[in-house]
Amino acid sequence: MRIGVIVFPGSNCDHDAFHAAALEPGLEPVWLWHESRDLAGVDAILIPGGFSYGDYLRTGAIARFSPILGSVIDFARGGGPVLGICNGFQILCESRLLPGALLPNAGSRFVCRPVRLRVENAATPFTHAYRRGQQILLPIAHGEGNYYCDAKTLAELEAENRVVFRYVNAAGEAAAGGNPNGSLANIAGIVNRAGNVVGMMPHPERAVESALGLADGAALFHSLALALALPAAGAAPAQGMPACR
């Protein structure tokens, strides 16, 4: 199954993402260039981290209007699995495929370190190889990862179990001490209502083999390989997945 990795001017995690996908049996990564509208028949799309178009205007704001994003939006609306990591998450929010926005970190600092996360939703195409409630370690590296949405949206996200990852402290609690950037409700990643578009600030692609120090991100790519192997995957991946819980 082919996974397209989008390359914008300023992407800097694209090769890591490509490498991480290539490590997973059953996933064949291919590059997708930002100026193209052609998705090359991919089965899933990964929008990598970096500073697309220099993050001018706002993080992810210019990327949203790139030719490839038009195709990505159509693909996502058709039920295709899309993952946005870091800048990719910011782009998904700017394009309204995901609700909310990423603000500058509450501490005004770029934060680059491993963080502890709790998997809150293990029923997405990108997380079902994890257990719900499982704690994992993944690196973050961002200056604007402070997730924000209005109260109504937050209530919907919580009620519909659409928070996918939450920052937690060493005791596994989503408390202030475990929150690296001021994100609302310690949110590190969310999924759209249809269940096929996931955005997250932490970098699973930087944690896929022991040589990197952390390997908890490998299960995310394994999840995708399993999801795409399901019979329903081609037509409507979200419907082929277990019910949300």
Partner: protein, 86 residues
């Protein structure tokens, strides 16, 4: 015709940059500054043929779709007053 679009974070949204600037002003002794919000401003040059109404509609649209993210930001459109009469 010249126009400006001023974009700033909504009041309900934390503005760490504004807070940092405010703290710096306090340290420098400017104690009478009660708060600072940081934003950005765009200066646009419009085709002279546009009427003021058309210009306002266009600017509102650009501000809403591109220059500001309405989830977190608010904006204000300002048109350079046109000179009338001879």
């Amino acid at each position: 015709m010249k126009a400006w679009v001023h974009v700033s974070l909504k009041k309900s949204v934390l503005d760490p940059q504004g807070k940092t600037v405010h703290a710096a002003l306090q340290r420098l002794g400017y104690g009478k500054i009660a708060a600072v919000r940081q934003g950005k401003s765009f200066e646009l040059e419009l085709e002279p043929a546009l009427s003021e109404t058309e210009a306002r509609q266009l600017l509102e649209r650009i501000a809403h779709e591109v220059l500001a993210n309405p989830v977190i930001e608010e904006y204000r459109v300002e048109l350079q007053p046109t000179e009338t009469g001879g």
